[in-house]
Amino acid sequence: MEIPRIVGAGLVVIGAGIGIGRIGGSAMDAIARQPEATGKIQTAMLIAAALIEGIGFAAIFAS
C-alpha cells in the first residue's frame, strides 16, 4: 500500500521535473531568440514553473 503511493509520487515528481526543465529550456531558447523580451519571458516562465511545482508538491503530500 505504501510503496505504490511513494512510487506514484515519485513518478509525478519526475514528470514535474521534466515539465519544469522543458519550460526552462524553452525560455532559454526564447530569450536567445529575443533578448529584448527577457523580462516578460522570465515572468511567464516563473508562473508556469510555479504552477507545475504546485502539482509536484501536491503529489508529494498526497503520498
Binding site: 516563473l46 504552477l51 511545482e53 504546485g54 508538491f57 501536491a58
Partner: protein, 382 residues
Amino acid sequence: MVFSKKPFEYLFVVLVAFFSLTSNANSTNTIEVTKKGNTVENNSEMKVLSKDEKKDEERKEFIQHHLLDSHDFHIFSYGKNAEHNVGFPLPVILWDNGLHVFSSSKFEHGEKVAEDGGNYYKISHHDGKIYKTDSNGKITENTKGKIQNEKPLDFSITKSFFMIFIVSVLMFLLFAGLGKSYKKNGSIAKGVGRFFEPIIIYIRDEIAIPNIGEAHYRKYMSFLLTIFFFIWFSNIFGLTPLGVNITGNLAITGALALMTYFITTFTAKKYYWKHIFWMPGVPVLMKFVLAPIELLGTIIKPFSLMIRLYANMLAGHVVLMSLIALMYKADSVVGSPLAFLLSFVLTLLEVLVALLQAYIFTMLAALYFGAASEEHHHEEAH
C-alpha cells in the same frame, strides 16, 4: 541583484547566519535521549539503539522540532545534557470553556503537565500541540498514531505568532517611516527607502498593472505590497539562526491564501462568474461539464498558493538542516567541510528562493485578481 554591489558584506552576513545554525544543530548532539520517549515507544518493539542510531534519531527529531511551531522561544541549549536552555517562554492562551492564560514555562519544554483552572494540559512531542489530559499527562493514540485527546482552541503567542508579530511591527515601522519621509523630503525617498522604493514600483509596474490592468489595480495594491513584503521578510527570518519557520507553517500560508481567495471572490465582476458558470464560446453540453471544473479551480488556485509557499520553505529548511546534520554525521575531515560547503551554497540558494516565492505568490495573487476584475470580453482568448 541589489546585493551584488556588496558581495562580501552580504556573504559575511550569510556566513554569520549560517554559523549560528550550525551551533543550533550542534546542541542536538548532547540532548538526552529520554526526551524523545514517545516516538520510540510507539514502535512497539523497543529496539536497543546503538550510539550512532541514537544520534541519528536525535537529529531527525531536532529537525522535526525545528519545522514545527513551539510554545517557547528556544534559541539553543548547552551543557553536557543540554540542561541549560537559552530562550524565553511565551504566553499560552487557550480557549477551553473559558479563557486560560499562563506562561509556557509551566510545561518546562514539554516535560511536564501544566495545570490551569482545574484543567491539565500537555504538549505532545508528536506535533508540538497542546492537548487536554488528566493529571498524569497521559496522551492516548489510536493505531494510526492519531492523538485521541481533546484539543483546546489554541490562541497562544507561539514562536510563529511571535515572529509574525515582529515582522508586522518591523514592516509597519519601516514603511510608515518611509511614507512619512516622503512628505518631509518632498516626494523623494531617503535612506532605506532608496532600496525599497524600486521594489514597490516594480510590484506596481511589473506585477499589478500588467496582470490586473490600469483601471482596477489601485484597490489591490495595498494587499499585494503587504503580502509581498510579509512573505519576503518572513522567509528571510526563516533563514536566520533564530530557528523559526514562519512561512513553512500551513496555518500562516493558509491564512494568506484564504485572504487571496476571499478578495478574489468578493471583488469579482459579472464577467468572472459568467466565465465560471456559463463559459462563453463552448457548446451547451460542455458548459455543464466545465462549470464544476471551473468552480473547483477557484478553490484549487488558492490551495496551490498555500501548498507552494509552505512546501518550498519547508523543503528548504529540511534540506538545509539535513545537510548541517550531515556535517556532524560525517564527522571526518573530508565529509564535514564538504557538507558545510554544500549547505552554505544551499543557504545562498534559499535566499534567492525566499525572494522568488514572495514574488510568485504576489504574481499569482495579482493574476487571480486580474481574472476577477476583468470586464471586457476577449473573444480571441476562448
